[in-house]
Structure formats: C-alpha cells, structure tokens
C-alpha cells in the first residue's frame, strides 16, 4: 500500500542509513540507522511525495536477548496522501539514546517521555525529558523485560507543600 514511501527513502538515503525495508500484514516498515533517525523523519515530513504530516505513535520494543536490545518504533501517516509507514531505530543497552523527533512533530513530546519512562531510552535534544506515567521517585523502567512484574518499589515520602 505504502511502498512509495519506502522507495522514496531508498532513493534519498544510502543503504547504510536505511538498513532494511519490508512489508507485513499491510504495514510497510523501514529500519533506520540511529544517526540518520532525525534526518529521515524530517525528510518524510517535508518531501512532497510523502508529506508525513501526522505523527501517529512512538514507542519502544525490548527485544531481550538480541543485540542491539531496543527498537524505537515510530508510526507516521500522511493526511494528504493517505500513506503510512513504520520506522525502527535500534538502540543499544549500553547507550540507550536516540535523537528526538519532538521538534519535527510537537506531538512526539509526550510519547518520547513515555518511552523514556517505561524503557529508559533517552531522547537527545528533547525539551523536557521527565517521567510521565510513573512518579519521579520510581526506580527502574517497568516495561523492560528484566523488570519483574511483581517488583515492589520503595515507599516515597513527599515534602508537604512541594510544587513540581
């Protein structure tokens, strides 16, 4: 359906930047090298053939046991052309960071905060990288596969009258 997007990506970027493309269950996807992440995002938004003007979703997958361990997953849509694409950006466990796309689509701000909160992936250049679903004192990143489901958290005591 959206093969055009993958073709445009392969035209514009080298094979070292767009590592792999494919299609499954009607979803087209491309695997992007980490340092080209932001450039690919901006290209997809600005290219007149793709015009990915809608930010849909950003999340992370913990592929425990695989190296690099995490995939940041970005879903985009074009309101004009009705095209969709999914991008993967692989992130290592030792250095879990990738460029932010919040300046490209402001809606990505909260989704990146969520991915940071639940998976511990840091987004370089993010304007406000705080936890969003968990509270600030939470220890660890709960959606990582090595975070036990039954794990208890230390009791936190809040100073009365604190504003944050």
């Amino acid at each position: 359906m959206s093969q055009l997007v993958l073709d445009r990506l392969k035209e514009r970027f080298t094979a070292g930047e767009i590592l792999e493309t494919g299609s499954q269950h009607g979803n087209e996807w491309a695997r992007v090298r980490r340092d080209a992440w932001r450039a690919v995002a901006e290209f997809l938004r600005d290219d007149p053939a793709t015009r990915m003007d809608m930010f849909v979703d950003l999340t992370c997958v913990d592929r425990f046991g695989r190296e690099p361990r995490f995939d940041v997953v970005l879903h985009l849509y074009s309101l004009d052309k009705k095209l969709r694409v999914r991008l993967y950006g692989a992130v290592t466990e030792e250095e879990p960071s990738i460029d932010t796309v919040a300046p490209v689509w402001p809606g990505a701000n909260w989704f990146e905060r969520e991915a940071y909160d639940l998976y511990g992936v840091r987004f370089r250049g993010h304007p406000d990288l705080r936890r969003i679903l968990m509270y600030p004192e939470f220890v660890g990143h709960p959606l990582r596969k090595d975070y036990p489901k039954e794990k208890r958290q230390p009791l936190v005591r809040r100073d009365p009258g604190r504003v944050d």
């Binding site: 499954q24 269950h25 009607g26 979803n27 996807w29 003007d53 809608m54 930010f55 849909v56 979703d57 999340t59 997958v61 913990d62 997953v73 879903h75 309101l79 009705k82 969709r84 999914r86 689509w105 402001p106 809606g107 990505a108 701000n109 909260w110 989704f111 969520e114 639940l118 936890r131 969003i132 679903l133 968990m134 509270y135 709960p142 959606l143 489901k149 504003v163 944050d164």
Partner: protein, 432 residues
C-alpha cells in the same frame, strides 16, 4: 458547520433576547472583553495554581500546574499518569483472549470499540481478518456505534454539567442507560462487556434486539433534540464555548490529534471513511467537520456524529445477514460445549486454548480503528506463543490531551473547564 451567523435567532425567540456581540471584539464569558483587560495595567505577579488530580470540575484524574496572571493562564503543565494500571505489562503475561477485559478498561465509556479494535489487530496477525463471518462483522459495527454514542453522550453531558447545565446531563445519561441496558442484555455486563472474541463475537444478538434498538434510537433522537434546544441556543453555554480553545488545522497533524477533535478543526480524517474496516465501506454516512476549531465546533461535531452513528446502526440492522457469529477455525474458536463434555479431543482442544492461549504466528502489526476519541491503534509484537511479546495501545486521548499545554496559555482560568471537557480525556485510555 458554521454557527457564527445565527445570532438573530435570539431575536426570533422573542422575549429577553440578548444583544448580539459587537463585531471585532472578542467577548469572553459574556461580560469581559480581552482588549479592555489588556489595557488595564495593574501590577500583577504570576501565581502558581494547581488544579487536580481530583477536582470537582474535571471528570478525570489529571493534574494541571498552571501559572496565572490574575485570571489569565500564562503557562500550563499537564500531568497525566494518575490512572496508570500497567496495561502493557499485564498484557505480556496474559493470553490473547485474557486481554479483552483489559481493553474494556481502557476507554471505559466505549468498551466495545476497544474490544473491536483489539480483536482486529490479533486477527490481522492470524490473517483471518477477512474471514470473520459477515454477521459477526455487522454485529461489531452495531455494538461499536452504540458505544460511540454512549461515549459522546457522556462527554457532552458531563461538559454541559460542568458549565452549570445539569438537565442535559441527566437527559444524556438517561439515553446512555437505555443503550447500556441493551448491551447488558447482549453481553451480561453493563459496562465492561468483553463481548468480542478473536474470530467473531461471543454470542448472537438476543431475541428482538433489533426492534428494541430501533425503539431506543427513536426515543434517543427526541432526547438529542431536547439537549440541542437546551444547549445550542443557550447564551451562557455559547459564550463559554464559542471562540474558546481554538486549535488550528496545522496543529492537528503535528500533534497527532484525531477523531472529533481533528474533525472540528476542519481535518476530515475518519478511519471508517478513509481506511474502511469491517463493513463500514457498505454503509452510507457523512463525516461532519467544523470550520473554526473551537470548543463549540467540537460539541457540534459530536452531536452530528451521534446522528450519523444512528444512521449506520439502522442501515446495519437492515442489512445484517443470517449465519454464524464465530469463525469456524479450531485455532481460535472454542469447541461447542456438547463436544467439550463428550469427547476427549474437544476437551483437550478447549484446555489448550484456555491454558496456552490462541497461538499467534510471529510478526508485528499496527492495526487502527476509529475509537470514540480518535485513532485507536494496537501495535502487537508476537513471538509465536499464546501471549504477546508486546501489546501496545496507541491512545487517542494521550495525544489529544498533550495539546492542552499549548492551547490553555492565553485563556482565562474559567475556560479550562469547557476546553478540558471537549478534549474528553479518558483517564483509563490516556494513562493505560
């Protein structure tokens, strides 16, 4: 949906007609004019103001930390997450069928839409989404649209109540209750239905369901006419809704806003129309869009969508074919009870499906449907076992709530209530 030109309707209503607002001046809450306030140079310091997480004027657990200059908001930090119940983490430990009750609790005012959205995602992974019996697809559309109506009724009723109009709230809740009674008859539960199954639905429509539903819709239309009369020409309501909380067309895509909120800003993006699923392609319906993108447009779009949903339900009731409501595929469907109790093969099959779960081939899918508040997406990663490796829900409310941080600054404190109400943030879905 141009609602700007009907100020003369007050005059035709006869007595007590308020004068139309002078053109070119933005009147807020009927008494104040922003430009007058800006000219007054009163010494003012900004003050931090905390609203929520539990506040009587906000129907959701969300906290807003705002900086206010007098009555005016200069910055707002929206903090969500108070209703986080680990949907994703729990889903990784549950079989595919066990996740249905969790999806009920995402958007708890339209659980059927979540059920349907999730079932479609798993069916795509199993590659049976086109094989689901037609009758089941029609039933899914009917219950889904009923849920959409209950979602909008709750949103509009609660928002009207927060602006002081208590009667429309009671009327809406009355209509919603009629619909929930029907869904209870169908699924056994008033609110958390868990009615849809992978491969179909859990049971056929009950005896006389169609006639009862038609009757409810007939009475419901009368309710909507009453509510419309009470609100659409209500001066207090209009003054607090018109021109407040405007979201431009350009912001819609960049912030990932979908659903009634996007359509109110003039973006005609409706997944039922643009990427039809189930039998929406066979139904005739219109997509209402707004022209201003303010709170009133969001209100009006929701009213019109309820009428369109009723149209769809009636067409679906006319067209629904006879036949099975569950796919006859031993990989996903439980064997008949008589078989389970009388043959060892069926009992083992039943046991395996319950204990191991439906085995879904390895793969990844992003499946999206039109939820009550916008694009409800399920991104599922399967590793080939009976439990998902990752089951992510793309919550429309999360993206819709995020833009409040941009919309609220510049508004008055009292504008927070209608603006937040029309975003219709559902805590269960936003925080998961």
């Amino acid at each position: 949906m141009d609602h700007k030109g009907d100020s003369d309707s007050y005059a035709s209503a006869g007595n007590l007609a308020p004068p139309p607002p002078p053109t070119g001046r933005r009147v807020v809450m009927g008494i104040k004019d922003v430009s007058d306030l800006e000219e007054l140079e009163l010494p003012s310091e900004t003050m931090p103001l905390n609203m929520g997480p539990s506040h009587p004027a906000m129907h959701g657990t969300v906290r807003m930390v705002m900086e206010v200059e007098g009555e005016k908001i200069s910055s707002a930090d929206i903090q969500v997450g108070y209703l986080h119940r680990c949907f994703e983490k729990e889903s990784e430990y549950a079989t595919y069928t066990q996740i249905f009750p969790y999806t009920d609790r995402l958007n708890y005012v339209s659980p059927m839409l979540n059920n349907v959205g999730y079932a479609l995602a798993v069916e795509k992974l199993l590659e049976i989404d086109k094989k689901v019996p037609e009758r089941a697809q029609y039933i899914r559309v009917i219950v889904g649209e009923i849920s959409r109506i209950t979602d909008h009724l709750t949103c509009l009723g609660a928002s009207a109540m927060e602006l002081g109009a208590f009667t429309p709230f009671l009327y809406n809740i009355k209509f919603r209750e009629w619909l929930w009674e029907l869904l209870e008859e169908l699924s056994g539960a008033r609110l958390t239905h868990s009615y849809v199954r992978i491969g179909g639905v859990s049971g056929d429509l009950t005896e006389g369901f169609g006639d009862k539903l038609r009757d409810v819709l007939r009475r419901g239309r009368e309710v909507l006419v009453d509510v419309d009369k009470l609100l659409t020409r209500n001066r207090i309501f209009r003054d607090r809704m018109d021109g407040v909380g405007i979201i431009t067309k350009e912001d819609i895509g960049a912030w990932g806003i979908t659903g009634p909120m996007a359509r109110a800003s003039g973006v005609a993006y409706d997944i039922r129309k643009d990427h039809p699923y189930l039998v929406y392609g066979d139904l005739d319906f219109d997509v209402p869009i707004g022209s201003v993108g303010d709170n009133f447009d969001r209100f009006a779009v929701r009213i019109e969508e309820m009428h369109q949903s009723m149209r769809m339900i009636e067409q679906a009731l006319d067209k629904i074919p006879d036949g099975p409501v569950m796919l006859n595929d031993p990989r996903v469907a439980l064997p008949a009870k008589s078989e389970t109790y009388n043959s060892i093969e069926a009992m083992i099959s039943h046991f395996k499906l319950i204990m191991d779960g439906i085995r879904v081939p390895p793969g990844e899918v992003y499946s999206f449907t039109e939820g009550g508040n916008g694009e409800l997406g399920f991104y599922i990663v399967s590793d080939g076992t009976g439990r998902p490796w990752k089951c992510r829900v793309r919550p429309p409310s999360f993206a819709n709530t995020a833009i409040l941080g941009k919309v609220l600054p510049g508004l008055f404190l009292a504008d927070v209530v209608p603006t937040f109400g029309m975003v219709n943030m559902i805590g269960g879905e936003c925080d998961r």
